[in-house]
């Protein structure tokens, strides 16, 4: 039955042992996707702080896009409206930008979010010790485990960040509409809006991956005996 695995060999020959164990990418994605789906509520909570932080980033950036759309008309009354709304515009400025205070707060919120993700993912790893250990007993390599965690975080990050980016952008447009009327929405340069959305989504994905890197490393290095010993 096991002929293929028992080439004729002298005792002590390691030829009977081979090296290939594989986990194709498609299968990894399927496992990671199912893992998120089954633990949907938990994944949602982990992702929620990311959604909020990214939507804040997106809100700030899209608000700037709105202001730039209005400035580009060159109409002095719109410029006045912008200054009244709190934009720091010197007379020679052709473009608006987010204030350094805003950027500082955005950075801080992203940082808090990253710490939250690390915490949530570390807990997730401890909850899954037995699962990880079992996979290793079935022949998983460290990097299969690592890849599964990164894929999960990547998918969660993509969906969460995209949702946050869209939410933040909508909110910024709504805000522009209330402050400056319909033209605020009409005049937003489409390419800049798109760029802001992409940038916020990418930042969110990156954050999610950075947040899971250490927990995934801990999980991947887990020895099966240690994993199995944990009482669950």
């Amino acid at each position: 039955m096991n002929n293929a695995d028992h080439p004729t060999q002298s005792p002590g020959n390691v030829a009977g042992i081979r090296r290939q164990v594989v986990l194709p990418l498609g299968k990894s994605i399927e496992i990671a996707y199912n893992s998120i789906r089954v633990r949907f509520f938990r994944s949602l909570i982990t992702t929620l702080s990311l959604v909020l932080a990214v939507s804040f980033l997106s809100f700030v950036n899209v608000s700037t896009d709105v202001a730039n759309g209005l400035l580009a008309t060159g109409q002095p009354e719109l410029r006045q409206a912008l200054v009244r709304a709190g934009y720091d515009l010197a007379p020679e400025d052709r473009r608006a930008d987010s204030s350094s205070k805003q950027r500082w707060i955005v950075l801080l919120s992203l940082l808090v979010c990253a710490v939250g993700i690390v915490n949530a993912q570390l807990m997730a790893v401890t909850e899954r010790f037995r699962e990880i250990g079992t996979m290793k007993c079935l022949g998983a390599l460290d990097r299969f485990v690592m890849r599964l965690f990164l894929l999960e975080a990547g998918m969660q990050g993509l969906v969460g960040a995209a949702a946050g980016a869209l939410g933040g952008a909508l909110f910024a447009l709504l805000n522009g509409f209330i402050l400056f009327g319909g033209q605020a929405v009409r005049l937003v340069p489409a390419n800049e809006l798109l760029l802001s959305l992409l940038w916020a989504t990418a930042a969110g994905c990156l954050l999610s991956l950075i947040g899971v890197a250490y927990p995934a490393w801990v999980a991947a290095r887990m020895q099966p005996v240690e994993a199995m010993r944990v009482e669950q």
Partner: protein, 246 residues
Amino acid sequence: MTTNKNIVRVTNVTKTFQLGKIAVHALKGVELEIPTGQYVSIMGPSGSGKSTLFNMIGGLDKPTTGKVYIDEVDVSQLDAYELAWLRCRKIGYIFQTFNIIQVMTALENVTLPMTFAGMRNDEAIEKAMGLLDLVGLGDRFQHKPFELSGGQQQRVAIARALANDPAIILADEPTGNLDLKTGEEIINLLQNLSHERDVTVISATHDIKMLNVSDLVVWIRDGRIDKIESRDELTISVGRIDARNA
């Protein structure tokens, strides 16, 4: 079939756990040879070192001193890839706590080791269905572990252990979390499989029910092998146990 008479050889293995300042000597020099194709029970009271020996033989932990050979290959010489391959292809593990992956269905649990082994998906599914049939769970393949009883989960674990036609099935207290009747069914299933498929079954246990089906019984006590008995010698000591228990 296999070219080696002894599928497992354990030479002078000791294992010491360091708990702060205290050293726990879980194994104190174990010598053991396990012939291919037999049903071997490692018997001993709780804390005698059965699980520790199980982990050594399964390549899940390294001995403090001494060597473990699987099919005449020194396990301590293997790198991470070879060790993963060994766990994937040569050994099937069965645990007291079943260790079915909770987020996967019975079918997915059984196909996973085949995926690791590089088998095509449709092939793996077909083989897994066959194995689930074999353990009597053909109609439960879509069930998640929490929808299955303990005995059924252990059957899934047995099907999963057989996935890559391993040479050895290692079972650590496979009946420890099961009631008497279910435990008996699992023992009989393991014995049939070992005979029909010519797999070496090594089972750590303190379940006396195991004695009836074992070809070889290794009695372990306090980290040392007390005695090794083959089936014919057994009847005598079983009689003695029965007499003691009466």
